[in-house]
Symmetry: C2
Subunit: 221 residues, 2 copies
DNA sequence: AGCATAAGAAACGCAAGCGTTCTTTAGCTA
DNA sequence: TAGCTAAAGAACGCTTGCGTTTCTTATGCT
């Protein structure tokens, strides 16, 4: 995948002898673009949106600002691309539930427990930090926020609603439940804690939320 | 160089005849202090935290930066004071529930409905905008966030938990309910929508959340 | 090998905004 | 009424960061 981006220790001849092994050869095209996006994402995660600077991205990517501005006209576009590139990848957020192919022996409660862990994992990861940064800047940059909502949140929300409907069909969720509303409870509680209250969520608390809130709420009675 | 930059054409007399009625005479002491705090709060509400500037506060308060820096050493202190002054006043946020003096004929559901409206009202008001601004800056300024949590959120959270306990005693809330956890559901859902999803909440949606989520959750069965 | 391209680095102009300082002048108090 | 204090306003120095420009030179292609 990568070119030989990583320093060759015993380099010599043509262009070696810079100083140490930090001879990160000049990258071009896609390799450089990826490095910039990765650096931008890292900056977004660690520094947040408001402290995010193109200068810092350039430094982190070991390139110059000019190479960035040659590709992205503004800081905002860079942020958007960096986030959108990272967010939907299953390896990063892994919330791709395919309801239709779910085995019959997987209960709704099982899935909800698993989902809760996935959400907490995501929110506690660098990707979560990046999301938080963007969410908090949403009012200054509605377009960015909308992009995240549409490409990331909404599909997952729909999947969760679908999961609850499946639960109704299987007799695990009370028929009268407003699935669209109930689907918001878990993400809302987790996001509220992690993003708005800045609290970490322990394993036991995930369990508590599921057992004491979500399951009683959907319980067939 | 030149002083008296603001050329007074031919104005005479004591101090009247500036232009119109905008002759905001020089204030001192507490009057000025209040004006500055009010302006800071207004700026926080409308501009947000990151766009908040001392210059803008000074302009809005019709004073100079020097008078502000004479009182608050940094921008952060000013923000904190402005917010703390505004937040706890009952007129502004009106969530002071005195559980002990609640009449017997007020049900838990009644109170929850009322509370939901109060929270939504608060979140949709300038005070809500200010809170959102601070919440979003919380990671950069944990002390500010903690002050808001302690002085504003936590007391109200405790009051809500107490309300639920009262509900248990009155047989309106199922005895097994984890009140501390259940108490988070309503604020979390509302804050999630308004602050994180930037959605307005209609009357009917408040009702839906109460009837479809909160009441089924606490329902005695 | 030679050449066109674009990477890397540095500097620039510009705008905002912090916190300071200075002068003028209004308001309070003795 | 005189005099002290502090308010209003403007300018300043400083820093940060955007987006641009320029120059050198490594890189990939032919």
């Amino acid at each position: 995948m990568t070119r030989q981006t990583l320093a060759r220790p015993a380099a010599e001849a043509p262009c070696a002898a810079r100083d140490a092994a930090d001879v990160v050869r000049r990258r071009r095209g896609a390799a450089l673009e990826d490095a910039i996006l990765a650096a931008a994402y890292a900056e977004l995660s660690t520094a947040g949106y408001q402290a995010f600077s193109v200068e810092a991205v350039a430094t982190r990517a070991r390139t110059g600002k000019a190479s960035i501005y040659r590709r992205w006209p503004t800081k905002q576009e860079l942020v958007l691309d960096a986030l959108l590139e990272v967010l939907p990848t299953p390896e990063q957020c892994g919330i791709d539930i395919d309801i239709d192919t779910l085995p019959d022996d997987v209960s709704t409660a099982d899935m909800l427990r698993q989902l809760a862990h996935i959400i907490v994992g995501l929110l506690s990861s660098p990707a979560g930090d990046a999301m938080r940064a963007v969410k908090c800047e949403a009012f200054s940059d509605p377009e960015l926020a909308r992009a995240v909502d549409e490409r990331f949140q909404e599909p997952r929300r729909q999947a969760l609603i679908e999961l609850l409907h499946r639960g109704v069909r299987r007799g695990e969720v009370r028929p009268g439940a407003d699935c669209a509303l109930v689907a918001d409870v878990l993400p809302a509680m987790l996001a509220h804690r992690v993003i708005l209250m800045r609290e970490a969520i322990a394993e036991s608390e995930i369990t508590d939320i599921i057992e004491q809130v979500i399951l009683p709420l959907i319980e067939v009675r």
